[in-house]
């Protein structure tokens, strides 16, 4: 198993404002994702998370550096990397079945209509939408639309799943159910996943590793947090795990204060190419500033 299935190597993205001035969204970012790993990225709005994901999907290109998948630099979109869009991006003139089938027939153009339909139905079942195949997106609730987006992305059996805040527009109950489903499917298939989220609990429940981005502009990867929870986790039990509050407080602490201040107090041994990897450990409550509570493992 390659430890660097996906490797982000020094990517920089700048945008030109209409008045000619340039803003650097982020600069010289490095991190890697192993095969089968579930990685979440957390950071404040506008720090460039979507931009990173767009570069990974091939919809956008970095101004500098490269995103490398399986040893090859990403040059454009690929069917190997499926995207679940924040706005679900379903084609409104197609039915649920039509939307999923469109992706499948793009992936396997030689498949017969019945083969495509069978695969589509299988994945529609998988996300619990049996019976809604003939509905148009406008007839679906937000959660159902997001499910179609998930079915569409998974149905092409991609090597990598990219998700941009897929659940942020949903109510808590639907979000929980969908998180469970995505987690189950990804575990079953050993899917490599990169997901953006604002929700700390979502990251803890789903991720193996969490990439922390500082505030933009000129955002950077502050550190990479390893999830101390075992891979087998139960949503209703994880808060009992001794390390749960350690990682939770560490993440919240980062979002509340350190995402702002990190750049002005960069640790002396900080290396952009190897952002520190932190494994938050059990600790008594209430917590001290959890930054020190983390143990460096790399």
């Amino acid at each position: 198993m390659s430890a660097k299935f996906i490797s982000i190597e020094g990517i920089t993205r700048r945008f030109q404002a209409p008045d000619g001035s340039q803003t650097t969204v982020f600069e010289d970012i490095w991190f890697a994702i192993a095969r089968g790993e579930f990685v979440c990225m957390i950071g404040h709005s506008g720090c460039g998370k979507t931009t990173v994901l767009n570069i990974l999907s091939g919809l956008d290109l970095p101004d500098d550096g490269a995103a490398i998948v399986d040893g090859k630099a990403i040059e454009g979109p690929s069917l190997d990397r499926a995207v679940i869009f924040q706005s679900h991006a379903l084609l409104p003139w197609r039915t649920v079945l039509g939307n999923v089938a469109y992706a499948i027939s793009s992936r396997w153009p030689k498949w017969s209509r019945s083969q495509v339909e069978e695969q589509a139905r299988r994945f529609i079942d998988k996300v619990g939408l049996k019976g809604a195949e003939g509905k148009k997106p406008a007839q679906l609730s937000g959660g159902m639309k997001q499910r179609v987006g998930i079915a569409r992305a998974l149905s092409i059996e991609p090597k990598i799943l990219l998700m941009d805040e897929p659940f942020s527009a949903l109510d808590a109950l639907t979000r929980g159910t969908l998180q469970d489903e995505v987690r189950r499917i990804c575990l079953e298939t050993g899917q490599t996943v990169f997901m953006i989220t604002h929700d700390v609990d979502e990251a803890i429940y789903l991720a193996d590793k969490i990439v922390l981005m500082t505030n933009g502009p000129e955002a950077m990867v502050a550190e990479i947090v390893e999830n101390p929870l075992p891979k087998e986790r139960d949503r209703n039990q994880i808060h009992r795990h001794p390390a749960f509050y350690a990682i939770r407080n560490h993440l919240i602490d980062f979002l509340v204060s350190r995402s702002k201040t990190f750049k002005s107090e960069i640790p002396a041994d900080y290396d952009r190419r190897k952002p520190p990897v932190i494994l938050p450990q059990n600790q008594p409550q209430p917590l001290p500033p959890s930054h020190e509570a983390g143990r460096k493992v790399a």
């Binding site: 979109p77 991006a89 409104p92 793009s106 992936r107 148009k136 406008a138």
Partner: protein
């Protein structure tokens, strides 16, 4: 329930308006003016208008009788100046559909090109801006001079007037396809042709059909004027010819028929618009 009763009530009101209008029309044109004393021979020449004070304007009943006679025999042909109203309509509809179809063949691909290429959009914009406001009839002399056939010239005029709304709407529809739908196609590695037909066309279809609906309306307005101008055949020529014959009944009948056909054309495209529309 509520809706049907509204529809019913609206229908009753419509019928009421029609009856009041018909009655007013009937009263307005039936004899009431002072009857003049005149030589019976002269009175014979002058007809009822003069002797009974009857208006030259036909009443609604005259028009109904006329319509009935046209309905009984819409397609008769007794020489160049006496053809059934059905034949004349068929000529006009044929010209409109031909010119409109040609305009579609040009406007849809060209609109796609303009909508997809910002360069072409800018390059063609000045031509479109200048040509669009020109009355299509202004093209008639040029068409007659170069084509030398009055019928084809009117088809050309229909072509020109149908072109602009379709072209502009197609370009607009294509250029404003939602980025996220295009991104879906990109992440699925959909090729340019498949993308054009499976994403851009359905996404832009409602806008395109709106342009087509505007075009057919304009084309139907213009064909009457064009045929009045060049003569020969067609409902426009028919109206003018009947005016020259002083047959106001026929003129009124034509007005009603022109309105009816225009409504049918518009409704046909409204149906297409409903078929391609999608709720978001």
């Amino acid at each position: 329930m509520r809706q049907t009763s509204l529809r019913l009530r609206a229908g009753i009101v419509s019928l009421g308006i029609l009856l009041i209008f018909g009655l007013a029309w009937h009263l307005a044109v039936s004899g009431s003016g002072p009857t003049q004393q005149m030589d019976p021979e002269y009175a014979k020449l002058m007809g009822q208008t003069a002797v009974q004070g009857k208006s030259a304007m036909p009443g609604p009943l005259d028009v109904l009788v006329k319509i009935w006679s046209h309905l009984k025999e819409p397609f008769y042909d007794r020489g160049p100046n006496d053809k059934g109203i059905g034949i004349q309509l068929a000529y006009s509809i044929g010209r409109v559909l031909l010119g409109y179809g040609l305009a579609m063949l040009v406007a849809l691909p060209l609109g796609f090109l303009i909508g997809m290429s910002p360069l072409m959009a800018r390059a063609l914009d000045p031509f479109i801006q200048i040509m669009k406001p020109v009355s299509p009839l202004a093209w008639m002399p040029l068409a007659l001079y170069t084509i030398k056939d009055s019928s084809i010239s009117s088809i050309f005029v229909i072509f020109i007037c149908s072109l602009w709304p379709m072209l502009i709407n197609t370009a607009f529809g294509v250029s404003s396809v939602r980025k996220e739908w295009l991104n879906v196609a990109r992440t699925l590695e959909v090729g340019p042709f498949r993308r054009a037909f499976t994403v851009i066309l359905p996404a832009a279809a409602p806008t395109i059909v709106t342009g087509m609906r505007i075009s057919i309306g304009i084309a139907w307005l213009v064909i009457v004027a064009a045929e009045m101008l060049v003569g020969g055949t067609g409902i426009g020529y028919f109206v003018w010819n009947e005016w020259n014959n002083l047959s106001i009944t026929n003129v009124i009948t034509s007005i009603l028929v022109i309105g009816l056909v225009g409504m049918i054309l518009d409704q046909a495209l409204a149906r297409v618009a409903r078929a391609v529309s999608f709720p978001e």
